[in-house]
């Protein structure tokens, strides 16, 4: 395995976050304190703004309020993209015509060439047997595992996950819970929007952010 050094301290704080999409106010006055080493579970019914919240923190949507990540803080409008995070959306970002290995090595190259991490990442994801299979030939769950394996390539302190366990089986849920626990123990911050509760290990600091349907 790749050595797992602790991350430098990085805190996320959100104050009075307000975000409109089109004419509709999706988020209004959301606050969150997530110091280094916390798992944040974002919950709420469909349409409560879980994905919008993640996109605001990821710097992909304009908002009002404050979001600060580490020593950088922003208010109003778009904040710059923070390179210390990886955002896995509900889409997998996997090309069906390329093999599993080609897909992951592409993302590894984009993250700065950590090709030696691909093998352990595929093994951890339980798809190492399918290394040379076109990603389109895999099941939805296997594609999801392949996409989540990107978390292990990137080695970023902040993870933003949108429905990470969708399409995963029981063992996949356990794998994700283990990944999140390990990341939090290293001092990272994981923010995950979920319907199905993720159960990390008992000693992990966990914050629940409940969003209401509007």
């Amino acid at each position: 395995m790749v050595p797992q050094l602790p991350f430098p301290k990085i805190d996320i704080s959100v104050k009075g976050l307000r975000c409109k999409r089109g004419e509709r106010t999706v988020l209004d006055g959301v606050d969150l304190q997530a110091p280094s080493g916390t798992f944040v579970a974002v919950r709420g019914p469909n349409g409560a703004g879980k994905s919008t919240f993640l996109m605001c923190v990821a710097g992909l949507l304009p908002f009002s309020g404050t979001v600060s990540i580490g020593s950088q803080g922003w208010d109003e409008d778009e904040h710059p993209i923070n390179e210390q995070m990886i955002f896995i959306t509900h889409l997998n970002a996997i090309k069906p015509e390329l093999t599993v290995y080609e897909n992951l090595s592409f993302w590894a190259d984009l993250g700065g060439g950590a090709r030696d991490r691909i093998r352990p990442a595929l093994e951890a994801a339980g798809v190492s047997r399918l290394r040379d299979v076109p990603a389109g030939a895999m099941s939805k769950g296997q594609q999801r595992r392949c996409s989540l394996a990107r978390l292990l390539l990137a080695d970023k302190p902040i993870w933003l996950l949108d429905e990470p366990t969708s399409a995963l089986d029981k063992s996949g849920d356990i794998w994700i819970a283990g990944l999140i626990s390990a990341q939090v123990r290293r001092g990272g911050v994981v923010i995950a929007a979920t319907h199905r509760p993720i159960e990390p290990e008992a000693d992990i600091a966990m914050v629940t952010l409940d969003l209401e349907a509007r």
Partner: protein, 221 residues
């Protein structure tokens, strides 16, 4: 640099394996080469004199065929969002997409142009002139396509709208392209038109990635 290279290789691989699109492109272009002479009728000198204009129109129309592919796949599978947290800027990504689109669309059309030359019965010198103008002019068309594809990426009917955005803007390229290939105003026209065409391509290629990046950023909101 390594990341840009990785993107270029991945897109070319993905284009070559997805299959179908290159065949469609070739079939469409060559069908134009068959249909137009039939429509014009058995007048060889007329056909030959219209040749350069018809080939340029054929290339323009054919290159619009796969226009929506430039960004749609990456948008639909979430890659575009994932790119945002890598070191690559959206404009660098757009520049790579421009190169890929030119290599997979314009280049095959230019390579096939001698076949069109035979179908339109144009002479060898004119054929070379047409191919040269296509080589210099297609980057401008590809650059316009890039911006149109970025603007329409999140629209459901983007594939229909994008070509309509490109066509009026491609008029100058067609004027200078055909003008350089088939000078009618005497000596010097070909050279001037060729210079204008090259300048247009350089300017469009230089600005298009930034315009496309802006359009992509807005479309994600």
């Amino acid at each position: 640099m390594q990341a840009l290279w990785a993107l270029l290789i991945r897109d070319l691989k993905s284009a070559s394996r997805a299959g179908g699109s290159l065949t469609t492109l070739i079939a469409f272009y060559l069908s134009l080469g068959v249909i137009l002479p039939i429509a014009i009728g058995p007048d060889k000198p007329l056909l030959a004199s219209l040749g350069p204009a018809l080939i340029w129109t054929g290339v323009l129309l054919s290159s619009l065929l796969g226009l929506d592919r430039i960004f749609v796949a990456d948008h639909d599978d979430g890659s575009l969002t994932a790119f945002r947290h890598t070191r690559l800027g959206l404009s660098a990504i757009s520049f790579v997409k421009l190169i890929v689109h030119w290599l997979t669309t314009a280049l095959p059309l230019i390579v096939l142009t001698p076949v069109m030359g035979v179908l339109f019965s144009i002479d060898l010198d004119t054929l070379f002139a047409v191919m040269l103008t296509l080589l210099l002019g297609t980057p401008a068309i590809t650059a316009l396509s890039l911006v149109a594809a970025a603007l329409s990426v999140s629209l459901k009917r983007g594939a229909v709208i994008a070509p309509i955005l490109v066509m009026p803007l491609a008029i100058p390229a067609v004027i200078f392209g055909v003008g350089a290939a088939k000078p009618v105003l005497g000596a010097g026209q070909a050279e001037t038109a060729l210079l204008f065409l090259s300048a247009m391509s350089l300017v469009f290629v230089a600005f298009a990635p930034f315009a496309a990046a802006l359009a992509l950023r807005v479309s994600q909101e």
